[in-house]
Amino acid sequence: MKPAVVPGALAPREKQTASRLLIGLAVAVTAVIIVVPLIYIFWRALADGFGVFAQNILDPNTLHAVWLTALVALITVPVNIVIGLAAAWLIARFTFPGRKLLLTVIELPFSISPIIAGVCYLLLYGRQGLLGPMLADADIQILFALPGIVLVTLFVTAPFVTREVLPLMQAQGSEQEQAALTLGASGFQIFRLVTLPNIRWALVYGAVLASARAIGEFGAVSVVSGSIRGQTNTLPLQIELLFNDLNIVGAFAAASTLTLLALVTMLIKTLVEGRTKSD
């Protein structure tokens, strides 16, 4: 008998009605809860025509939100890449006491809901917070300003790069790097010429996930940003603001740009997965 490699090869004939039923149910439920809400975003954004859509996007406050969101991503993602690679190198290439604990702490932000992260940051940097009086004396503004948004975004995106790169580095082992070392390569050369080519697609994917999250983060940012219109409003917060202003079409216009970005993220994911498989 041939091994069953093709999905569906296992289904015997008497189960065909059952399988059609299950496929139909899966498609129907997915359409209702995922596909229609996705299409609806573009439908509503363009409901009043492209002119109104463009007008909504070009609204100064929305444009400022786009700019601020891009700025936050441009700051946080490079930091994520550097630290994520450092942490992956540390955990994959050395053994030391507390290694597992360190990994747990790095992944902690995935288990803490964004609102709690925001509360933590407020209790740390807020006026009544741990460091609040010190910061006020030094006249440093962290909350309700760019630094706070950047810091809390770094918190929620902290695990992404390490999480994608680490398993690959562990699976590949360090023989190649050790060989390079015996041949006299410097640490930076080893990383650039040996390690990086092996992990580049995982790194790209981790960075893409981190940027998607940095752009789309809502809860944590909404606690620390103060949502000042045209100043500390990121694009997701702008959506809420427009929604509360009952400018639903405007909210959907802003949402459609984020949706496009999400679809691009998914496309990159598919491409990268194809690459890592062919590598």
């Binding site: 496929i23 509503r44 053994t95 999400a262």
Partner: protein
């Protein structure tokens, strides 16, 4: 050269062979310390400052209790739905070949890729009285927006991928020989599923459901759009924490946040325990 060979024994002491230990350790520890641990420490210290008596008063106040109850109930409903839907999707995506299967598979990533505020906006508009879904449901007397069902729907949307993506690889790796053996012994498809397949995927299924539940408890962006946020009725716990902050009631906010974090950490420990049990089981078979 011999000294290098000596420095690379089979186990244990490979630690300092490659360069960069100090640099990466320094970078990682300062990042983790400043970005992750210090803020969490601020919350824990605040909790200690509040003290157990005051903490208990805050958490058992009617409004907080109502918020916690709503959050847990809605998350439970969302998780039940996702457990069933996730199992169905994992099964259909691994076992059947049909046109559009890869597209359907890709759809499972939408809820993670889409910012939660966008999902919340779209679902709210769809289910509101003049939306596509709301206008169908309204004549039947069903209202979703501003009810616990709306909260549960938003929560289930954002946690869709967890069960699917944990069960899917296990189903793919399942040895078809075992099922064929069961079939040749005369087992019905339902019996095969119950006695052969489900025991194999059960640990992964429970891990996925646990993470989905944890995520639902913490969901904020998608929920606040659809919930209407009426105190005592459709106000979720994390929103109440945020309202307390806006009222400068830092103790109230910290107490609620601590409670949610504690539940999240318990669920994390539970899923880790389930995962380690899964790996031990996987090692045997």
């Amino acid at each position: 050269m011999t000294s290098v060979a000596v420095a690379i024994p089979r186990s244990g002491r490979t630690r300092r062979v490659l360069p960069g230990f100090g640099l990466t350790m320094g970078l990682t520890l300062s990042y983790v310390g400043i970005i992750v641990l210090l803020p969490v420490l601020a919350l824990v210290l605040k909790g200690a400052e509040i003290g157990p008596v005051r903490y208990w008063e805050i958490v058992t106040s009617p409004r907080t209790l109502a918020a916690l109850r709503l959050t847990v109930t809605a998350a439970a409903i969302a998780t039940l739905f996702n457990a069933a839907y996730g199992l169905l999707m994992a099964w259909v995506l691994t076992r059947y070949c049909f046109p559009g299967r890869r597209l359907l598979d890709a759809m499972m990533d939408i809820p993670f890729a889409l910012p939660t505020a966008v999902a919340g906006l779209s679902l709210t508009a769809l289910f509101s009285a003049n939306g596509w879904y709301g206008s169908i449901l309204a004549p039947a007397g069903i209202s979703v927006v501003y009810t616990i069902w709306g909260v549960a729907i938003a929560m289930s949307f954002t946690s869709v991928p967890f069960v699917v993506r944990t069960v899917q690889p296990i189903l793919e790796d399942l040895d078809p020989a075992v099922e064929e053996a069961a079939r040749s012994l005369g087992a019905s498809p339902f019996t095969i599923f119950r006695r052969v397949i489900f025991p194999a995927i059960q640990p992964a299924f429970l891990v996925g459901a646990t993470i989905a539940f944890a995520r639902s408890l913490g969901e904020f962006g998608a929920v606040i759009f659809i919930a209407g946020n009426l105190p005592m009725k459709t106000e979720i716990a994390s929103l109440l924490a945020m309202i307390r902050l806006e009222e400068y009631d830092y103790n109230g906010a910290a107490a609620i946040a601590l409670t949610l974090m504690l539940i999240a950490l318990i669920l994390l420990a539970l899923s880790n325990w389930l995962q380690s049990r899964m790996q031990r089981k996987g090692g045997v078979t």
